[in-house]
């Protein structure tokens, strides 16, 4: 609890000071600054200006030094008694609607740990990779095919691969594709982890179908720019299937992580983990906070 005193209280309080010492005004910093500037100004005018600057600077230094040594020069200012009002007209504070039994300051208690999302994302990544490679083996006849295509997103060398080389192993493409795949999957997983509890009704539907559909639509529109090689070789049915596989696996893994409150009757504020004052009677030790 913050405390501030009115001036009268200060006056009444036996330990409160009647007057306060503040640093005394002094001209020396100004003199030093002026001398310093003249010192430089001499370079663009004449040397005598620099000489004057040097003299002023030395004087400023000495003056300043004597201002703080042996002790700092202060002057005394009497306290002017004043009536400071700290008050408000706005007396009523509204509350967010929360479930009746959730009498907590921090809402809600149960949310996914961030790691849950990442785990889900990585699991989804595996599922997606399995499907993509399956596609490579079944349809294209080489497990490296989808990997080379993915790498072309960043790696312009891959763009230059002829049709034949697309089917063979390239260490650089492989590394790039792997890193890219893992990073994006982890990020998307994190996003799922954060958003699923907010839209709690059917996590798997949301994460497994709606999100992949949105995502695929997005990719569909931008792929030509981001990865033209992939765009020209893509099989959209398989692509969407692998997105859905990602979503479902990620959703399941996230949902498994901790048993969270998914009651849909909870207000959005709680599902979104909004931090706000609760409806509670004051805590006993409320005074010291933290």
């Amino acid at each position: 609890m913050a405390t501030l005193l009115t001036a009268e209280q200060v006056m009444e309080s036996p330990r409160a000071p009647r007057e306060i010492e503040v640093p005394a005004s002094t001209v020396w910093p100004f003199v030093l600054a002026f001398g310093f500037t003249l010192l430089f100004a001499g370079l663009v005018t004449t040397m005598s200006v620099s000489a004057l600057g040097a003299v002023l600077a030395v004087a400023g230094c000495i003056g300043w030094f004597r201002e703080v040594f042996p002790h700092e020069h202060e002057e005394v200012v009497p306290i002017v008694p004043e009536d400071i009002r700290i008050t408000t007209e706005r007396r009523t504070v509204e509350r967010l609607p929360v479930a009746a039994y959730q009498l907590r300051a921090w809402l809600p208690v149960h949310t996914y740990p961030i790691s849950a999302g990442v785990k889900g994302g990585l699991a989804g990544a595996v599922a997606m990779a399995v499907l993509a490679c399956a596609y490579g083996v079944l349809k294209a006849g080489s497990i490296w095919y989808p990997i080379n295509l993915l790498a072309a997103a960043v790696y312009a060398e891959s763009l230059k691969l002829g049709p034949a080389q697309l089917y063979s192993f390239h260490a650089d493409s492989f590394e790039i594709a792997l890193v890219l795949h893992l990073i994006v999957s982890a990020l998307v997983g994190l996003l799922y982890g954060a958003m699923l509890p907010m839209f709690a009704r059917r996590p798997i539907v949301l994460g497994g179908l709606i999100a992949p559909a949105l995502w695929s639509g997005l990719i569909y529109t931008i792929l030509g720019v981001v990865n033209p090689l992939l765009a020209s070789h893509i099989d959209w049915a398989w692509f969407i299937a692998s997105q859905v596989a990602f979503g479902i696996v990620a959703g399941i893994v996230v949902a498994r992580q901790s048993r969270m409150i998914t009651q849909e009757n909870l207000p959005f504020a709680m599902r979104a983990g909004i931090e706000a004052p609760g409806m509670i009677p004051p805590r006993e030790n409320g005074e010291d906070g933290q």
Binding site: T3, L4, A16, I86, T87
Partner: protein
């Protein structure tokens, strides 16, 4: 108004904040480090890019002895500050003066090296890129050593007339922070100029 506390506020019992002198010196050191970094980068960038001689390999000699002087002055200044904190003013004064002597020796070394470069090898700041970067970097450091020596000497004078006591120990510590910094910079400058730059 009912909100007003009606007792004089009590500060939290363990309310301690860092010393402002030290924080400020740390800030200054950060800023100075950035300045030195730029000069060091320029030096390294131009290594071997001079269009004319002389080159560092031809003219530089490694100043081992003076380097040792400067580095050991870090130790003496530390011990001096410690002595003052324990109120042993005599020891403080001795060590402090020793620090100044060591720093002075270093400056003497630099002066000698410059004299040799200028008069024996004709290398000045405008000779070539090496000259420009060398004198700037080493000169910037020498400038800092000189400034440090001036401040150290001032304290020494006050100490000699008996005006320095344990109550000034904090200020002296701040000054010694600066001196350590100047030494640390020398390690970098030394490496860059006399090891990497050749």
């Amino acid at each position: 108004m009912s909100a007003m506390a009606n007792s004089y506020p009590q500060a939290p019992a363990n309310w301690a904040l860092p010393d402002r002198g030290k924080v400020a010196m740390a800030g200054l050191i950060i800023a100075e480090s950035a300045i030195f970094t730029i000069f060091v980068v320029a030096y390294l960038f131009y290594v071997g890019k001079s269009l004319t001689g002389p080159s560092p390999r031809e003219v530089l000699e490694t100043p081992i002895f003076y380097t040792i002087c400067l580095l050991s002055s870090s130790l003496t200044v530390h011990l001096a500050a410690k002595s003052l904190a324990r109120d042993r003013v005599g020891a403080f004064l001795g060590l402090w003066v020793l620090t100044i002597v060591l720093g002075g020796a270093f400056m003497y070394g630099t002066a000698q090296e410059w004299h040799r470069l200028i008069y024996e090898h004709g290398l000045t700041i405008s000779t070539n890129l090496f000259g420009t970067t060398y004198y700037s970097l080493v000169g910037l450091h020498a400038f800092h050593v000189t400034a440090g020596l001036l401040m150290l000497s001032m304290v020494a004078i006050f100490a000699l007339v008996g005006r320095v006591g344990v109550q000034h120990s904090r200020r002296v510590e701040v000054l010694s922070m600066y001196w350590h910094f100047v030494d640390a910079v020398w390690v970098v400058v030394f490496t860059v100029v006399y090891v990497v730059g050749r």
